[in-house]
Symmetry: C2
Subunit: 682 residues, 2 copies
Amino acid sequence: MIRTLLLTALAAVAPAAHAAIPALMPMPVKMEISDGKLAVDETFGVNVKAANRLGVDHPTAPPEADRLGRAVEWFLARLARQTGIFFAPVAKAATLQIGCVPCSDTGPTLGEDESYSLDVSPTGAWIGASTADGAIHALATFLQLIQLGPDGFQVPAVHIEDRPRFAWRGLMMDVSRHFMPIEVVKRNLDAMAAVKLNVFHWHLSDDQGFRAESKLFPRLQQFGSDGLFYTQQQMREVVSYAVDRGIRVIPEFDMPGHTLSWLVGYPELAAGPGPFEIGRRFGVFDPVLDPSREEVYTFLDAFIGEMAALFPDPYFHIGGDEVNGKVWNLSPAVQAFAKRHGFKDTLAIQTYFNQRIQKILHKYGKNMIGWDEILGPDLPPDTVVQSWRGQDSLAAAAAQGYRGILSAGYYLDHGRPAAYHYGIDPLTGPAAQLTPEQAKRILGGEACMWSELVDAETVDSRIWPRTAAIAERLWSPKEITDVDSMYVRLEVVSRLLEFAGVTHRSSYQPMLDRLAGDRRAEPLRILADASEARGLGTGRRAHQTDTPLNRFVDAARLESESVRGLELIARRVAASRPPGAGDMASLRAQFSLWAANDARFPPLAEDNALLVEVKPLSKDLSALGAAGLRILDCLETGKPAPDDWMANETREIARLQRPSAEVLLAAVRPVKILFDELSRRK
Amino acid sequence: MIRTLLLTALAAVAPAAHAAIPALMPMPVKMEISDGKLAVDETFGVNVKAANRLGVDHPTAPPEADRLGRAVEWFLARLARQTGIFFAPVAKAATLQIGCVPCSDTGPTLGEDESYSLDVSPTGAWIGASTADGAIHALATFLQLIQLGPDGFQVPAVHIEDRPRFAWRGLMMDVSRHFMPIEVVKRNLDAMAAVKLNVFHWHLSDDQGFRAESKLFPRLQQFGSDGLFYTQQQMREVVSYAVDRGIRVIPEFDMPGHTLSWLVGYPELAAGPGPFEIGRRFGVFDPVLDPSREEVYTFLDAFIGEMAALFPDPYFHIGGDEVNGKVWNLSPAVQAFAKRHGFKDTLAIQTYFNQRIQKILHKYGKNMIGWDEILGPDLPPDTVVQSWRGQDSLAAAAAQGYRGILSAGYYLDHGRPAAYHYGIDPLTGPAAQLTPEQAKRILGGEACMWSELVDAETVDSRIWPRTAAIAERLWSPKEITDVDSMYVRLEVVSRLLEFAGVTHRSSYQPMLDRLAGDRRAEPLRILADASEARGLGTGRRAHQTDTPLNRFVDAARLESESVRGLELIARRVAASRPPGAGDMASLRAQFSLWAANDARFPPLAEDNALLVEVKPLSKDLSALGAAGLRILDCLETGKPAPDDWMANETREIARLQRPSAEVLLAAVRPVKILFDELSRRK
């Protein structure tokens, strides 16, 4: 029996149905599940049959093989971590066969064929692809298909045909505001590959740090990085690590603004007088490169040439955002230059600068990308515009003939829920009015991890798992929009991502332990499980680069999985008369835990500088637990609560929906569902 | 006011007193705590004043400085992780001054002066030492002194004088039965330094794998390792990483037995006929080197010379354990050779072999160490004997003039509680009869992590935190023996060790998530929290090298912190009439959780091959929770339970004290305390 899955039918998949439907993310274009399972045990092996190997088959690839061979190596290492199985060093069986014919192996390139097919039967699995990258995506799908069944690890018999909706599916990581060591970059590349993202946009310089080693201009990193930068060898290592995972690396050197860290070592590049110091605060700084002096272009030509040689991808990001023009307006030299060229405003000056940079980039075989501020009247036509201020600029750029990618709505530092990002589609809103030819210029999008509020310890938990939802938006058919289905799968994929190497889940308990000092952190964990951290611009303040990120808000996750589970139960209880006994018991147990928790909190928080701010939150949680218990009683007995109590609770619930200590008490949501139902029944 | 802490007074320190007494482990020889605190904030800096720097002071050491300078670097990195504080790249203050005069910087050496003093006042901290290693130990103490107080992170004003009781304080890691990647080795070196262990004994070869690259004899690793071995560059890297942390590295190449992996590539070294295959099962194999052929010694001379050059420490371990003699007895050549030399038995032949090896080692400037089987009549006098079969051999060796180290009682793979290891003292038992001069030959001890039952994922949780208790036994004065104090401090130190880099705590949840398949693991976590894994020879079976270590027993910890907490409460309840309300509430809450847990377990374990074996355990836990609740009722009301119920519970509790699915239901212990009290009151 073959059950063809309609994609939209996933909406109806409840968590309980887990065994039948694998939690794939992104969802493939077509998936047909059959009866039968393929066992994954210690005999498992991979055989690659690639056309560019002159037809020679070989078993599990040896070290230093080609890219697909190396992909099989990390696939097997990942499979071993995910299952705990030790695979035989020389595979006993060719369980999974990869037929990559004709197999391009030139590295991931924009617009290449990333499609693949994957067929699994009880006797084996077959991947078909015409590029190494297609095959790499199929391997990622295979890992998500693995389930723990009655006989061990297994993959359901399935036929999958898949290809991405957008060619540009990226993650931008800002390593300037807080430096991210190379192992952080690598583990995030592993996680990107797990959800088929294919562009790593590396924001390597900004006011707060210049993170790339230049041999031509060593004062850039010597004076601009506090010693925290990547050597050229490390950058090459990241590029090859990414390429092996089907990921292009786009470096960004933001200019002419956001260049304070450049100017510490090279003040002569500045439009205004120095000396300069590395930025320690956040926001937009005035210092900017001088567009009027040829020496600046000479410097940039040499520098871009040096960097272009490290990054093989033909796209190069020049930033171009947030030039406030203050220094240019105050500089007699820049003003004289503007007058000479007839430039009326800052944008015209910046467009001239961009045109000069574009010529340099062309010389080194690179296409220019920039943030949407670069969209001026005379922007060269092969520029790619990255829209961050809104979807309007993306549509405007496409209408004017420019290619574009969307990041507005994908800013991870804002701390919004996965559902919010999931609802943002590059081709909706103003883009929906474009002609088909214009719409084709919209290449995809990028999730953006600005690092004012994250460091190496916390960055994974701010990128993942939410970025998996963005990855699905950019890969899967546009009809895949069901939020409940997304969350069910996201939770499973989130756990798998730990085996890919990111620490978004495992970093949680040690951070709570640190907050608890030398006490046991359990009451703190109960509070943190019930809380959600706010993001920049949505309740969270950014201070400066050396402000410790060791507070409760840093340990708390952005979305509480356990509260989401309680919301589902609360909705069922609200909808049923009488409510299910199991559901009532689950809610009672959780509310009781909350109600009792604050009694344990003061001993934990006593004399603890970092927990002072969450003492009121702990009280609120316990009050909420007590209120929840009372509401359950009322719903069960059918007896209403007194009016004054209801009025008071209405105010309390409204108050608790506002952030405190820069976190939200997520626990209020299931209680509010029950309270609203109680109000309705009155 | 100065409170001089009597060391034995620590016995009286309850967990609640945490703020006053820092959780140091190992406990120093002398500690005086005063009023006042030193703040640890972003201005914190270290200044090294070392005599071998010609009196030149310099602030926080630059990269590539000497060993003490590099130690300060990793100290600051560790401090940043532990506190979440970003320290200024160029320190603003010399908060911590290190005076190392005269400062030996030749690397850690056996018997060097490891003493240090540490003085902390509200205005600064001073370390005094005469070797870099003394100063490195002081830095480890400083990290454990840090507490989270009302104004942030702080260190109490303190005067510490400290020195080790034993000069040899080691951890042996077997990387043969399961290979441990270099990052696993490094993070364990970091953790060793945190508790002042100073010897890393690297068991590099055994029947199941030859893990060191030989350039002279490449078939050793090519045929004997399944591709899992350390390159020479990696071994040098480990040595320098260890040396920077005050740790000597002793390589072990076990011979003439335990050499199956050598013989795969070089069958001509064997006393019996080949061909040979890498060992996949465990236990003692018969194949052994041929002691009768000069070619074997020629090979070993070249090989040992090659390895000796990689490992600068003057000690070299040749194993020598478990030679069963079967092949030698069957070999006409070996028997003829034995007859020629007048060797009466296997031991005599092995002693000859050892004498030959010792000559080779001397040639390369190395002293020989071996397991206690090497203790034969003509053993060269400068040999060090490592006692593993019992404390008798250690005393016997010392009485015969040999130096020795103790490992009997420190076998981590046996899965015994920290208290067991803590109770083993190298100078008690038969060693107590030695003369002072003989006793001096007992250099210390080593914890041994044999790897039949651990892999890279689980090894940290089998080494830590228990090894910290062994580290205290080997460092601290012999009077420090209070188990309750040890456990209070061990729990705090265990959490700190995560910031040193080991993953003994953070690996727990991902392993439970894997076991839960795509379901939520919470009921499984409650069961695992209540369970304790058994070790080899104490309820756990070892199968073979490719048996997955992904079962419940692998995820469960060896000692349950939460159950230990419940035992303390249960003891208080048993001792008080009436029992404290808070204590009763805590026990009730936990027992209720257990009682309710099994209802949630079948949906989780359904169709799950790995959870089938723990279904009965889950039922037992819930029954135990229900029994615990009933016992609490009886204790509270003073009404006895019926005789038949008591008789049944007696049987049940006896049954639950036996392992099931290779784990113990630790939860039985607090319930048994209460049940015994109820029986007494009857």
